[in-house]
């Protein structure tokens, strides 16, 4: 049976990816600096091997023959996901893949010094090369998939999502967001927020983090918590490696970072055991992944009921202080302040940073915007959404993100799609199970049980659209996100 041959082949690929995930985690958390060069080489060889595995010439025949295999519905979806992975790996001519990878490395490498130097002029020619090759790749993908150029890139991160849908969702969001931002700022202008008084010893932060992960149902039999410069959730679903970074001056950020990553981790740990070694058993999309972390961080973590449970824990680990009062924590964790930097943004202004990037990258790829005109468009949109000028400020303007330097166009929307999905799931869950006030106070396991049933166990067995519909009974919509933000920030 050809389907069996395909399963075996993709399981082997999964095993290689497992080794890469663990060695990548080790590189970020455990490896002494002197091991880096050898590790990079070893991981490079593995990447080539994984690519070869997806380009095995037998695959084409197996896929054709598998169409005649008697498969149940899940196996058919499994076959479709294998085919998608194969298609993505074989669609572009090898020359173009190589050229794009080279231009991307060159641009990203230069960016590391050009960004701090605020050197747009030095960056532009390298970036133009990346844009040009990304357009070429997008064209090739577009032709093969029957999509627009930008949609063909979006498809890599958020299968099934189209810019037409995004234009609708973001258009709606963009309609009310600037007004909400202004309103909240006005409302918070005279609010008193006590800052948390440090220092907060690393080992105590870790103990607190582990306790909160325990609350949130993280399975320590299948995962662990460590430290890395850039927090992430890695490893494999049987062994999830979550990382954080401690700042002894600030416990608030590391703690909420752990809550966020625990959302990613529980999704991974909750993927169906039966399908874990195959593409269909992986997380549905970047946006759905982010919906789980934002569900944990924003819907649960910044909810007053959650912060009311957190308050005594903080006091227990670090001693009493007035700033640990539950209502102060709630004000602290819902503070809104327009700023230049996306990764530092709060829940309300974050979508503005994303919509701005979406607008630019879509037009760049579709050929409606040129790389040289990027700073001007950036400035316009920052003015429009957040009332900030980035004229001449490239460091904290259009040079702030790594994503575009290596040509990862199409990824940014995932962040705000995640927030939109999370709000829709949270609304549906509360309609079915009762309010977060009650659930967080009395029955967190019911929250996780619901997510497991509605999201985690489905892995990639459903499309995102079907996933959202069966979970919420509604088509995808930004309305729950609007209700959530308005209720929390201007209610």
């Amino acid at each position: 049976m050809s389907y069996s041959a395909l399963e075996q082949h993709f399981e082997q690929l999964h095993h290689l990816q497992h080794l890469g995930a663990i060695c990548g985690w080790d590189q970020a958390t455990m490896m002494p600096a002197g091991g880096n060069e050898a590790r990079a080489e070893a991981l490079g060889t593995l990447a080539v091997l994984c690519h070869q595995q997806l380009q095995d010439p037998r695959l084409g025949d197996w896929f054709t023959a598998a169409e005649h295999d008697a498969l149940n519905a899940e196996q058919q979806q499994s076959l479709a996901e294998m085919r998608r992975a194969w298609r993505d790996a074989t669609l572009l001519p090898a020359d173009l893949v190589r050229a794009r990878s080279l231009a991307g490395s060159r641009c990203e490498h230069a960016w590391r010094s050009l960004r701090p130097a605020n050197d747009w002029a030095g960056f532009l020619p390298l970036f133009e090369e990346v844009v040009s090759l990304s357009r070429e790749a997008a064209s090739a993908r577009a032709d093969a998939l029957g999509l627009s150029r930008y949609d063909s890139l979006l498809e890599q991160y958020e299968p099934g999502m189209r810019s037409q849908t995004l234009d609708g969702l973001f258009g709606e969001l963009g309609g009310w967001l600037p007004g909400l931002i202004a309103e909240v700022q006005e409302k918070q202008r005279f609010e008193t927020v006590l800052p948390l008084q440090g220092p907060f010893a690393t080992d105590k932060q870790k103990a607190l983090g582990l306790e909160v992960m325990g609350w949130l149902g993280f399975d320590f039999h299948h995962g662990r918590l460590d430290v890395s410069a850039h927090p992430f959730c890695g490893g494999v679903s049987e062994d999830v490696r979550l990382t954080t970074r401690y700042d002894e001056a600030d416990v608030a950020q590391a703690l909420m970072g752990i809550v966020h990553e625990t959302g990613h981790a529980r999704y991974e740990q909750g993927l169906p055991a039966q399908w874990r070694r195959l593409p269909v058993g992986q997380a549905r999309s970047m946006g759905v992944h982010e919906s789980q972390s934002l569900f944990f961080e924003m819907q649960l973590g910044r909810h007053p009921a959650f912060l009311a449970r957190l308050a005594p824990l903080l006091a227990q680990h670090f001693g009493e202080q007035p700033a640990f009062a539950a209502d102060n924590l709630a004000r602290l964790y819902t503070r809104v302040k327009p700023g230049f930097i996306r990764v530092d943004a709060d829940e309300v202004t974050y979508p503005a940073h994303v919509m701005l990037r979406y607008d630019i990258e879509r037009d760049l790829i579709e050929g409606r915007l040129e790389a040289r005109d990027l700073p001007e468009r950036w400035d316009q949109l920052m003015q429009h959404y957040l009332g900030l000028s980035t004229k001449g400020n490239y460091t904290n303007g259009c040079l702030q993100d790594i994503h575009w330097t290596d040509g990862s166009f199409g990824y940014f929307p995932s962040y705000t799609l995640g927030a939109i999905y999370a709000a829709q799931l949270a609304e549906a869950m509360q309609q079915q199970l009762g309010t977060f006030e009650r659930l967080i106070g009395e029955d967190l396991p019911a929250v996780f049980g619901w997510l497991e049933q509605k999201v985690w166990r489905h892995a990639s067995l459903l499309s995102t659209e079907a996933l959202m519909t069966q979970a919420s009974g509604q088509a995808l919509s930004a309305a729950p996100f609007e209700r959530h933000l308005k209720q929390r920030y201007s209610g």
Copy 2:
């Protein structure tokens, strides 16, 4: 140039082995228990892949063509080592490899419960299957290599070593060892040794261990120290992962374990950077590897001058106690007591455990001893060397080691060859640089510099015989080991 193609091919293999080494280390030190099944599968796939890499059908042609390449002497040795790795991987028919691996897994798995149950009768049929398939493999290797059956297995761990040489070395050793053991026991009978008084907190043991590793020149930029159930030295030479196990009741053993593993680690860290990715850049043999760990543990670590430096460190980390006196430490660390268990044996009785196993495994493989007669021979030899009877005691007799259960015949001699090499190196070094009294007290870096020049940098560029000769100016001999033991224990 075919040699270049071979280099590239073997470098790729090395990268895969790198990933396996790190993931294997992770499995022993970091991995949560629930990750084990997936990890075992992933490492299994990697093993198959490494094997396939060595069975690539292009290799034969490349090796033939490379004979016409213009190669310098080092490249020629590199070629020879690649050819050796290839030969070892392709020599046996695939059916036999599979059957042996299966029988080995089955026997090893059963042994884990049969040993504690003292169940020789249950073990025997499984072990007979392993012996029979190992003989078959040995015959195939023997035919191809023009060696005796046992020598063809020995060749895997100790290239160039022959049972004829071993018979000579061990015959000599066996002549004076029983007498020495008796003499030392008599001498130590009325000696007072104060036991070290615990508990010794794990974090303090670790701090002390790190300090001692620092003394011994371990490069923390290219390695680290962690904890595992069974201490080992893993990772890759650019990133050596050393492990230990702490017992709060006993600091002496963990500490000397760290010294031992640091010897292995420095050999790895000292391998020549230029050759690290190729077979010729790997450690020469199991025996040479063990010679470095035993040089550190036995020649240096149990030397009175070393223990005199250790004494104040112990007091500093754990507080003063009479047992920390340098002369008490020296008595403690040179205590000789015949016992049943090889891994618990002291420096003097250890070779007896090895010679006994050598005698048995050689005859088993050559067909001069049958598996069913093993307990009787074991008992005879234990009586002869150590005056202990193991009649009916399989648990602490012939069932104590894991090595034979999966058919690793030919490995045991490495332990005592390591001790013999170490003594010969130590004698030569002291002739050239001065006594250990002075070197340990004033100039440890000279010791390591000498080892780096004479052993580490040569990797597998020289045969063991050439390595020993250029280092010591003498052919391989057990005489320095005899002088060392007699001087330390009956001097």
